[in-house]
Symmetry: C2
Subunit: 313 residues, 2 copies
């Protein structure tokens, strides 16, 4: 067993942090470590919280952490934050939360930053979720800012995704975005003390009516994080959704689809690493003025032939 996974079994939180750093940096040995992580999973509940910047996701998650802790469950939060050009890392919310839950061993909060590559962050986040599961957290929350294509991709690993909206923010347009209706298992109207909450709820209700195919209509929960209101209902609805998933075949179907996707994703990543190393070792240079389509074909063919020779030897 990989030493980090071994150490995680001893509840060494630094080993957990190091394992996440390993996937974040796309370490060449990560697959062996992740295999051991996979085998050590303890069936944590995975929850996704997504929504626009300013929707109050961080405060909501903070309240949710306290609520979950009151039920004597442990919780890890993977916050997928945009890289600020100023801080060069995670944004605000984090440190605030860190303070509140800092002394609680039952809470782990980690933010993951973009490492540039499209898809790389989504991949690393999914691995980080499994790592937290293997460590033994009961609940793993993935919090993402925005609902772009890569955020949608991240959400495919969770059991229940809550989309956080606020009244009068133009946020509702988010749900027209590609894939949002498919991934939102739950709508949260946060800052529900603001004007326009009735209008937003009405609109959401209509949308749910029009689009829900399942017998289970997508629930709409109102929360006011500043007053700690609605958090209990939110947790209840999350649990109901989870129960629904595993009472029906839905949950299993989801995990199966996700698994297939992941295997291909991992293969693609492996090949990519290999071709890139090959191109670097061979000092293949890309010419800015030449046809990129021909250059791509040439490098690929060259790599394949080289691989063939290696296999032959």
């Amino acid at each position: 067993m990989h030493h980090l996974v071994e150490q995680m079994k001893q509840k060494d939180i630094r080993a957990l942090a190091r394992a996440i750093t390993m996937v974040e940096n796309d370490h060449p040995d990560k697959l062996d470590m992740l295999s051991d992580v996979f085998a050590s999973q303890k069936n944590a509940r995975y929850i996704g919280i997504t929504g626009s910047p300013g929707a109050g996701k961080s405060s909501l998650v903070n309240r949710l952490i306290s609520h979950i802790r009151n039920e004597d469950k442990t919780v890890a939060v993977i916050a997928v934050d945009p890289t600020s050009p100023f801080s060069g890392g995670a944004l605000l919310g984090d440190r605030v939360r860190m303070n509140e839950h800092f002394t609680d061993n039952g809470v782990y909060i980690r933010s993951m930053a973009t490492r540039g590559s499209l898809g790389g962050l989504a991949r690393a986040t999914k691995d980080a979720v499994r790592i937290c599961d293997a460590y033994g957290f009961d609940v793993v929350i993935v919090e993402t800012v925005g609902v772009g294509q890569s955020e949608l991709d991240i959400m495919k690993i969770v059991d229940t995704t809550a989309l956080v909206l606020t009244p009068n923010s133009g946020d509702v347009l988010q749900i027209f975005k590609a894939g949002i209706m498919e991934i939102a298992d739950l709508f949260v109207i946060n800052k529900a003390d603001l004007d326009g909450v009735g209008k937003l709820k009405g609109l959401l209700k209509e949308l749910v009516m029009m689009t829900s195919k399942e017998a289970q209509k997508t629930p709409i929960v109102k929360t006011i994080t500043t007053e700690n209101k609605g958090i209990d209902t939110l947790w209840e609805k999350i649990n109901e959704h989870y129960d629904y998933l595993y009472r029906t075949e839905e949950g299993r179907k989801r995990r199966k689809q996700q698994q297939e996707l992941e295997v291909y994703e991992l293969i693609r990543e492996e090949i990519w690493r290999e071709v890139k190393t090959y191109a670097e070792n061979e000092r293949l240079t890309i010419k800015a003025d030449d046809d990129p389509y021909k250059q791509a074909q040439a490098i690929y063919q060259q790599w394949k032939q080289e691989r063939g020779r290696l296999n032959d030897a």
Copy 2:
């Protein structure tokens, strides 16, 4: 030369449409066609317009089209639209615009929809831009909704990116997102007749002061599309930026970086296609309950050995 590229040289607009469909559907023969497209490029100016839903990008682009046409230049617009769960395709704005410019042969508007795969849309959009260039349009505008990771990726192909913001929309948070400060060459405050325009402009100015490394500070332009105000200034600033790019080494540097990225992207795509076809032909099934990391390694190794045998034969 590929027959579609041949036909495009004869100004056959249906050939242009077909060529774009080919990259949208990721047709296996697309690389040969794209090589001919690459060779036929005529050095069009590439402009990106991005911003949140509701920022008024479509109307702005519409005004910009009219302005560019008044200068006797032709213009193509590639609108990267979210797929609505209702229409199953492009959103509203499009048909409105189509009406206005429908009879004008100097205008081509095409929206591209998500085909599911992460990165696939960005790839197809870049190819579509080159196709419009090869056809002979003087200006190619890429309009994207949102500023997620894949939108940022799309913007890497354009010369000048304008980020459209509106007063009091919470939009300004967008610019804290990963990479936005790096890609925005121009800020547009649209709906500049609304309250809060002074505040937004003040904030943007501060940000520009803090972050612009170049001698060239990022310009801020105010527009009111409903009154056709500010469009001339916007076009002027776009041209100034373009001049700056090609007066300095900046433009060449950008295209070179983009080219390198593209070659790797294309290689990755090629390999992916091959592995996927292999897995399908061999009916390799992915087991939902088994370790995805081990399964990925196994399929990859198997494919490599198979490749070795093929090369050997």
